[in-house]
């Protein structure tokens, strides 16, 4: 008995969760700082503090010695490895860039509140917990921690009907998906008598009982909701359009990485023996997302909604790698997520820069003639659009290349062919944005970019354009860490 007490609070155990611990404490310190130094100065101070906290956490994540099998702590509730470290760094990068984009935006809209950075930090803590989950209960806790903070920041512009609607819609549908997740978990627990990944894995084999398959389906459905994959995507366009643009950019990056990482770990870990069962579901979800993301966005005039459909499509492409269910596929998923975060945040930086006379505009037609009024912004946005369409030698091409290659290697030819066709259809609306910017008569001139937005747009654009010079930088790391999860 005394042993278990010591082990639960031992130094080695605490060292395992140092990144989460540090970030949680930082959130509380920022909260108190914000409450005490007064609303005016607090927003800037907490934002900078949160960025600093993200940087320090990333250092903790990278510096931690993982070993080959990773570290398990807190009675097998938490598991960290080089694989989770990759995802965590990506999540921290996504959160930090989205937070940089929010600097000045909220002040200009007169809705600046110091709670926003604090909630972003707390949501990020939830994402880190999700990624380190080694037990279905940890998974649920992390998911709720992240989701609850996201519901609140979707509605943070509380005097705006659309923002409130976005928050409410996200909350109701999110609660529904949490219910499905819990129901699925309870079925799995009822079968196996445990929620722990290591205990589940040997019991969940191919040729399982009907109840377990239903549990698996519910768990996948709930996680598909979080990555907004078809048919659980309904909330995405409304939430992206209604939420303030920096919030939408945050939604598009870090939470997607966390949920996708979680899906990968759950399906290859405890449900690893049931590949035959989940592979067909993932193939279906992947095809549906790619096709829907390509077709539904064709008629969109609002660029935020366009990005929502685009993110649905991108999640479909990333799922191709998971459907392949081999180490190459996982490498593809990781590379896809990394490049998607960079491209997505860069595009959102350009969208945030769309302001005419101090008022934000978000129609595609407002971009008309941008190449003549602001050639640099037009160039950056054009590069992101080409990259999202998957045109070589931009980064987006590499991400699609790796997932499709993995699918072909796993003999999923139909999936790969449909994916390529969907990306051709999707290229239409990406290219239309470029056509509007370069060939239409100039519309009203945009205000200048703020330094933070310009920094994000510039740096992500450089990465997107120059990725082909040294693609091995990410790909070797991704290959190494995904070998730890499958066949390592």
């Amino acid at each position: 008995m005394v042993d278990s007490l010591n082990s639960a609070f031992g130094k080695a155990e605490l060292a395992t969760i140092i990144p989460e611990l540090f970030l949680a404490v930082a959130a509380m310190v920022l909260l108190l700082t914000g409450a005490f130094i007064g609303e005016k100065r607090a927003v800037r101070a907490t934002t900078i503090g949160a960025l600093f906290a993200f940087a320090v956490t990333a250092v903790f994540v990278v510096m931690m010695p993982y070993g080959d099998s990773g570290r398990v702590a807190f009675n097998s509730l938490v598991h960290v490895s080089a694989f989770t470290a990759f995802l965590k760094v990506l999540i921290l990068l996504g959160s930090a860039l989205a937070l940089v984009l929010s600097i000045d935006f909220f002040e200009r809209e007169k809705i600046a509140r110091f709670e926003y950075p604090v909630l972003v930090v707390l949501a990020t803590v939830g994402m880190l917990v999700m990624v380190s989950a080694y037990d279905l209960m940890t998974l649920y806790m992390g998911l709720e921690m992240q989701s609850l903070a996201l519901y609140v920041i979707a509605a943070i512009h509380r005097d705006n009907a659309k923002s409130t609607e976005a928050g409410l819609k996200y909350f109701v549908l999110g609660a529904l998906s949490s219910g499905m997740l819990l129901y699925g978990i309870s079925l799995v627990y009822g079968f196996a008598g445990s929620t722990n990944f290591t205990m589940l894995a040997p019991q969940l084999t191919d040729n399982p009982e009907a109840g377990v398959v239903i549990g698996l389906v519910f768990v996948i459905a709930a996680l598909a909701f979080k990555i907004s994959a078809v048919p659980f995507h309904m909330w995405t366009p409304d939430v992206y359009e209604g939420a303030p643009t920096p919030v939408a950019s945050f939604f598009a990056a870090a939470p997607k990485v966390a949920a996708m990482g979680l899906l990968v770990q759950v399906l290859t870990g405890p449900f690893g023996g049931m590949v035959g069962q989940w592979q067909q579901i993932i193939v279906f979800v992947s095809i549906a997302s790619m096709v829907f993301g390509a077709v539904a966005a064709i008629n969109q005039r609002n660029i935020k909604r366009l990005m929502a459909y685009s993110s649905i499509g991108h999640m479909g492409f990333a799922l191709v790698g998971l459907a392949a269910a081999n180490a190459d596929g996982l490498t593809g998923v990781l590379v896809y997520l990394a490049i998607y975060v960079v491209m997505g945040l860069g595009t959102f930086a350009c969208i945030i820069a769309m302001r005419v006379n101090g008022k934000a505009v978000e129609q595609i037609d407002d971009l008309a003639g941008l190449s003549r009024t602001q050639p640099l912004v037009a160039l950056a946005l054009g590069m992101f659009m080409f990259s999202m369409a998957g045109i070589p030698p931009l980064a987006g091409f590499f991400s699609k290349f790796y997932v499709f290659r993995a699918a072909v290697q796993a003999d999923l030819y139909a999936l790969a062919i449909i994916g390529v066709l969907a990306s051709v259809v999707g290229a239409f609306y990406y290219l239309r944005v470029i056509k509007v910017m370069y060939f239409d008569q100039p519309a009203a001139r945009f205000d200048g970019m703020t330094p933070g937005v310009a920094l994000v747009a510039g740096s992500t654009c450089l990465v997107t354009m120059l990725f082909w010079i040294y693609p091995a930088s990410i790909i070797t790391v991704a290959t190494r860490v995904s070998a730890l999860v499958i066949g390592g």
Partner: protein, 204 residues
């Protein structure tokens, strides 16, 4: 043994019956009172299972705090519940149909239910710290030691919920008079009391 069986059926049937009354009674105050009855009987079921600590918690927390809070809210809110119920009959057929299908599906799942051969061993391995102790001891060991990480996570979630509630609802109202203790204490007699000599018959 027979006494236990009898009390089980007593508690269970009253629990189910009062549960039905909660959703079917017209007066919301009655519904909350039935809810309290349901809680008490559920607590009785817990005692029968040997979980006396949970039973006491249910009575203290749910009956003592939550249900009373419900009662207050129901009384404070001026909601016309008969109006809310107007669509009830209209949606009853489709609701009943959906409910019936769900029930059949659940029965199908439960009918073919199987438990993994290793489930028992997994259950014991996960809850190794429990056993041979009292209820509250075992619960405490699980929640505060074995699952300490999850307990702290739950605390963070509550913190987020609190921040969220404040962010979304707290507004600075104009014209609200707040108590300022410093000013109250610093106030002197000379600042606020004026002694006026009034000549009789002249007024001020």
């Amino acid at each position: 043994m027979i006494l236990q069986t009898l009390s089980f059926y007593l508690f269970a049937s009253i629990c189910v019956a009062s549960g039905v009354m909660v959703i079917s009674s017209r007066n919301p105050v009655h519904a909350v009172l039935y809810l309290i009855l349901a809680f008490f009987n559920a607590a009785g079921l817990f005692v029968l299972m040997g979980a006396e600590f949970l039973a006491m918690l249910l009575v203290i927390v749910y009956v003592g705090a939550v249900a009373v809070l419900f009662l207050f809210v129901v009384m404070m809110l001026d909601i016309n519940f008969t109006e809310l119920r107007q669509g009830f009959l209209q949606y009853l057929p489709i609701g009943a149909l959906v409910g019936f299908i769900l029930l059949v599906e659940l029965l199908l799942v439960l009918g073919s239910w199987a438990v993994s051969p290793d489930a028992g061993a997994a259950l014991v391995a996960t809850n190794a710290t429990v056993g041979g102790t009292t209820n509250s001891h075992a619960l405490g060991r699980l929640i505060y030691t074995h699952y300490a990480f999850l307990f702290q996570c739950a605390g963070l979630i509550l913190l987020i919920a609190m921040i969220g509630a404040i962010v979304l609802t707290l507004r600075e109202r104009v014209g609200v008079k707040r108590q300022n203790v410093g000013r109250q204490v610093a106030r002197r007699r000379e600042d606020s009391v004026v002694v006026v000599q009034v000549d009789s018959g002249k007024g001020i």
